[in-house]
Amino acid sequence: MLRIAIDIGGTFTDIVAETESGLHSVKILTTPDAPETAALQGTAELLHRLQKSHADIDSVVHGTTLATNALIERRGAKTAFITTAGFRDVLEMRYEKRFDQYALNIELPQPLVARPQRFGLNERVLADGTVLTQPVETEIDALCATLQAQQVEAVAIGFLHAYRNPANEQTVANRVQSQLGPTVTVCQSAQVAGEIREYERFSTVVANAYVRPLMTRYLERLQTEFRQQGFNGSLLMMLSDGALTTVENAMRFPIRLAEGGPAGGVALAAFVAKQTDSKKTLSLDIGGTTAKICFIQHGKPQTTRLFEVARSWRDVKGSGLPVRVPTVELVEIGAGGGSIASVDALDRLKVGPRSAGSEPGPAAYQRGGNQATITDAHLTLGNLTADGFADGMIALSPDAAAQAVKNDIQSPLNLASIEQAAAGIVELADETMANAARVHGVELGLDVAGFDLLVSGGGGGLHAARIAEKLGIRRVIVPAHAGVGSAVGFLRSPVAFESAITVMEPLNSIDCTALEDRLQTTRSEISRIVDDANVTTAVTIETIAELRYRGQGLELSMPLPSDAPLEDAIPELVHLFETQYKKLNGFVLENIEIELASVSVCARSVTPASTQSQPAKTSAPDPAIHTRQYYDPKAKDTFQIPEHSRYSMGTEALTGPLVVPEAQTTTLVRTGWNIKNTTLGHLVMERAD
């Protein structure tokens, strides 16, 4: 067995091979001009190491942020947008509101298609799907002539109410494609994002058309080169919602690849959650610039169907381009190792969202950065040591770190010691991340205290215990293989595809036959997409109904049986809805119609099995190798605490305080916590009381 996972990010390309003997990985620099170069080179290197050839590879799974980068850097195709006459500015008017009430100088992102390339066409479908005006061929042809003259490479079509009836979009798409020829990409809004709300749907179809030529060319090159090397297995692509799909399908909907990289990280978290028997898991990935959180229940990550790419204003929510496709629901927080700590005009200690990144980086890097960051604080406190950071690739200067903390925080706030200032920075960072988790939990109607915390990224283990304390969480998991997490996650992901349809009808007056027809069409479409990947495991189809009280924004999701007739399922839906609603709000409402807002359908293969992580060797831990100096913020004093290695740790618990330093991360076990290894190599921390 040989499976290869390729994760191409903005800076690094990670390649992981999974064989019977376990996981093997290589990390090389991304080659932005021809990203396939690094992928091929890294794969060759790994194969060489394993003494295997391309022909031995059963499958390649691939995720990449290339589509997102193209949107951020505006490197996509010359795109035109055809919409209902009178509505060409919808794309630029956006939500028609400011995303920050108090900032008077905000800027909105420029639309991907400028006004001269946005065209209105006489056609109209009404809210109930009735065609009021059919498009006229001569008008389409005249428009095509203009498009040809403008030499557009891609055409996005988005008509009002196409989510209800795509007939006019289809007619125009066919005509445009035949007039402009196969070299021009043509995308329809109902196919890319078949849901109500014109701005979001138009934004999605335009983004899809914009990146499609580029992504298609790239994927074709990658596939061809792999085949030429003798690879004859399947090539699958990682989607934003943590599912894999065929490369052909990915080329149709490249916008669905946008969050594939982060989705891989979540997929690994979900997999480890299952392995460690964690039913409710809060995944927290703390990187250099930001932290990302995702809720996972019963090994299934929380997903959503709306996210933003290419935020244009200081990474503020609301300043990006909305994309309405399924995606893992990640909340990004501006708090990572490089986040800058400062004292503001109100003498408040602030941490992030400004970041020193990796260049110039924290003061301790001595690469020109002199502002105090979270990393500097950890170094000052003894949570990190000068050597052995990031696998020894970066030497840290404790003096530079302490100096920055002194200048930026201790002096302005008049604190008694540098350590107290550094502890303050870490506490604020912990608080910021814990708050984000708490607020997001409330949004989802979840009580965070009942979850386990699963951390990854360079800073995960450093912050885990304190964040858990703040959230009332009693169990923390620090998985093995955190360094190349996304790529490993690809290997743990199922082949799947999800699609949603808007209904917006009261439950008691739904035309069940018509809806079942629509559902059936959707089910067979997505089943075909999943079948195309030649999956060997069983495929299940899951249907989720989203209900709400008519007029209310609070939508609750519940499963809809795929086999029973819709009519029979409705009373049960009402019951489920009322139960969930009561749990969330403490009351139910009478005499208000319950409305079926939308239905999403997902076909999913069973997740492939894996070779296991390195098991723990002994049941009793080896004695500590070293001790290190460490500042305890509660006692406000410095102590010697023991250092343990992950691999010398056993399945019997050790009691904190202690640290577990590793190549890519350090786990800090605070007083009041125990830590042990599991048989699969994942560390588990638990509250001692």
Binding site: A85, G86, F87, R88, D89, V90, E92, M93, Y95, E96, K97, R98, Q101, Y102, A103, L104, N105, A114, R115, P116, R124, L126, A127, L143, L160, H161, Y163, I196, R197, E198, Y199, A345, L346, D347, R348, L349, L413, L415, Q420, A423, G424, E427, L428, E431, T432, N435, R438, V439, V442, E443, G472, Y549, G551, Q552, G553, N585, G586, L589, N591, I592
Partner: protein
């Protein structure tokens, strides 16, 4: 997360980091509350608007923190309403589990649609804090959404301050048999969330009050749901607050209040120092209901305190566009604070640095029983009035005038089919000192439009177009935001009724600054030839189309100083006409590529 024996010992001062954390967390508590409320609100426009707010107050009724979500109109008003409500229902009379409610425009948020719910939070017998939230209820009777009422009595049912829920005083704080009253929670291991649940046990909803609202509302069940959501949201906030206090072993918020207020006051003062002391006067003319309204402000800046006197503004009118002083103060202060202290969080101390006054009985200080339904027509003009004062103090730093009052588009069936539809039509924001104004984006309101597809699904309407209007943004070095033209008609062959209550700036456009031109005035007409000239109700006959053109934002700086490539791009995008390019922007070498027309 437990209250240990040491917990009541608060003599040791909290360190600065802990204080910081507590402050952040209090804001986060409010944010959770506001988000939950927003999703639970009935009516798309209320959700879009975030027409709600949530805050946490100390035992004295002083606001400690407020959600950043929410409209400016609820900021100052809610800060004052907790104290106003406690003046009527004193703290001593409250028990665990109690919650107070009112929609009195002069105690709440300026019109009867806004309900405020205040919930005291107890530890043992002591009130340690209050949670408050406010939100817009779709309908409370009366004339519904219009400016037609001649007095507040016609605008819907008013609920004086009363209990929305009554706790059980005998049970509420007998948490553990071992506790003697007054001893705090010494020795108890009770967690914050348990503490709160126990307070709610046996509490009774005031069904009488709810029935009064339901009986008076056109959408009784939704109204009930919205009011109960406020209650739930406060309970969630109270639970979070008690958890926080348990985590940090606090039994009161006295130190925390002091820290927040001192820092906020200091920060605000420092930021206000850059405004030179002096008195700055400004005026603004509005269309009014059917006769012009004059707004006048005299802003005095002294020692980092700003007071604005609105004497000289028009007297209150007999239609529902009057504004109670609490709502006036909210928007006026918002304008000042957005420009000068945008990063200082809202609380008692930061709001105190700006005071707004007016003699009673003016359009900006209307008294009961003046009608006030569409009070935002006046309220949302005030930030521009404030900017007019500040421009003199800080020349070159102040944005041009924006389209002002949100144009509420309220339509209903006037034929056989009953329906109501509420949307907004946004105009342009004024050009900023360093950049163009935002097109079709409200300022000062934060409300966005309901999507066309959602609006058409909810009511039998056909939107025929929604596009930018060329030359509507005031010309300038930086161009004002563009207006839009919206056309719509009934999808049925039936008459419709339109409330023009909020169509303001139909006679003159928002003013430019520093040599920038005015934005275009708004215009509303029906294809049968009717011109909308006042804020009354109009009939749209079957088959006719309503055409609305919102106002454009004012320009900033002289048009001939505009970057030529920006002028050429505006021309190529059809955002300005060829005449404007040559005559106003003085673009001499006309580009070959004419604006693209479809």
């Amino acid at each position: 997360m437990t209250l240990s024996p040491a917990s009541t010992d608060n003599t040791e001062p909290l360190d600065v980091v802990t204080q910081n954390v507590l402050w952040n967390r209090l804001i986060s508590v409010c944010e959770e509350q506001a988000n939950a409320l927003m999703r639970a609100a009935f009516g798309a426009i209320v959700r879009e608007a975030g027409d709600l707010s949530a805050g946490v107050f100390n035992a004295n009724g002083e606001m400690l923190a407020q959600a950043v979500t929410g409209t400016p109109g609820h900021v100052n008003t809610m800060a004052a309403s907790v104290r106003a409500m406690l003046a009527i229902q004193p703290a001593e009379s409250l028990s665990p589990g109690d919650a107070l409610v009112t929609n009195d425009p002069w105690l709440g948020a300026g019109h009867v649609f806004d309900f405020v719910v205040v919930t005291p939070v107890f530890i043992a017998q002591n009130i340690v804090a209050y949670l408050a939230s406010t939100s817009h209820i779709v309908d409370v009777g009366g004339r519904g959404w219009s400016a037609e009422a001649a007095s507040v009595f016609e605008e819907g049912v008013t609920i004086p301050v009363m209990h929305l829920r009554r706790g059980c005083p005998s049970k509420g704080y007998q948490l553990r048999s071992s506790q003697s009253p007054g001893s705090g929670l010494r020795g108890s291991d009770l967690q914050g969330s348990e503490l709160h649940s126990s307070q709610l046990h046996g509490a009774q909803l005031n069904e009488d009050m709810l029935r009064i609202v339901e009986t008076n509302s056109r959408v009784p069940h939704e109204a009930r749901g919205d009011i109960l959501s406020l209650l739930t949201s406060n309970d969630t906030g109270a639970r979070r607050l008690l958890e926080l206090m348990a985590e940090y072993q606090l039994t009161d918020l006295i130190q925390t209040s002091r820290f927040i207020f001192e820092r906020s006051l200091q920060g605000t003062r420092t930021l206000l120092q850059r405004v030179p002391d002096g008195i700055y006067d400004s005026t603004l003319a509005l269309d009014g209901y059917d006769a012009p309204i004059h707004l006048q402000a005299s802003m005095s800046v002294k020692d980092s305190h700003i007071n604005v006197d609105l004497s000289g503004s028009s007297k209150a009118v007999n239609r529902g566009i009057n504004c109670p002083l609490n709502y006036t103060a909210a928007y006026a202060a918002f304008g000042i604070r957005a420009l000068l202290t945008p990063d200082v969080p809202n609380n008692e101390a930061s709001l105190k640095a700006v005071t707004i006054s007016a003699p009673p009985g003016l359009v900006v200080s209307a008294e009961r029983p003046s009608p006030v339904s569409a009070r935002h027509v006046i309220g949302q003009a005030l930030p521009d009035l404030m900017m007019g004062c500040l421009e003199q103090a800080l020349p070159g730093e102040v944005l041009a005038e924006s389209s002002g009052a949100l144009w509420t588009l309220s339509l209903s069936g006037a034929g056989t089919t009953e329906f109501t539809s509420l949307n907004v039509v946004l105009g342009g924001m004024g050009a900023r000192p360093a950049t163009d104004g935002l097109s079709t984006t409200a300022f000062p309101s934060g409300v966005g439009a309901v999507p066309v597809e959602v609006a058409e699904l909810a009511a039998p309407l056909i939107y025929q177009s929604k596009e930018f209007v060329a030359d509507s943004g005031g010309a300038g070095k930086h161009r004002g935001g563009l207006a839009q033209r919206l056309e719509l008609r009934s999808a049925l062959d039936e008459d419709m009724s339109l409330s023009a209550a909020a169509f303001e700036r139909l006679t003159s456009g928002p003013a430019g600054r520093e040599g920038g031109h005015n934005g275009s005035a708004g215009k509303v007409e029906i294809t049968d030839g009717t011109q909308i000239t006042d804020k009354g109700n109009y009939r749209i006959p079957a088959g006719e189309t309503l055409i609305l053109q919102s106002p454009g934002g004012g320009g900033f700086g002289k048009p001939n100083h505009r970057d030529k490539s920006a002028v050429m791009q505006d021309l190529a995008h059809g955002l300005i006409s060829g005449e404007a390019a040559t005559d106003i922007y003085q673009l001499n070498n006309k580009p070959n590529n004419k604006p693209t027309e479809e």
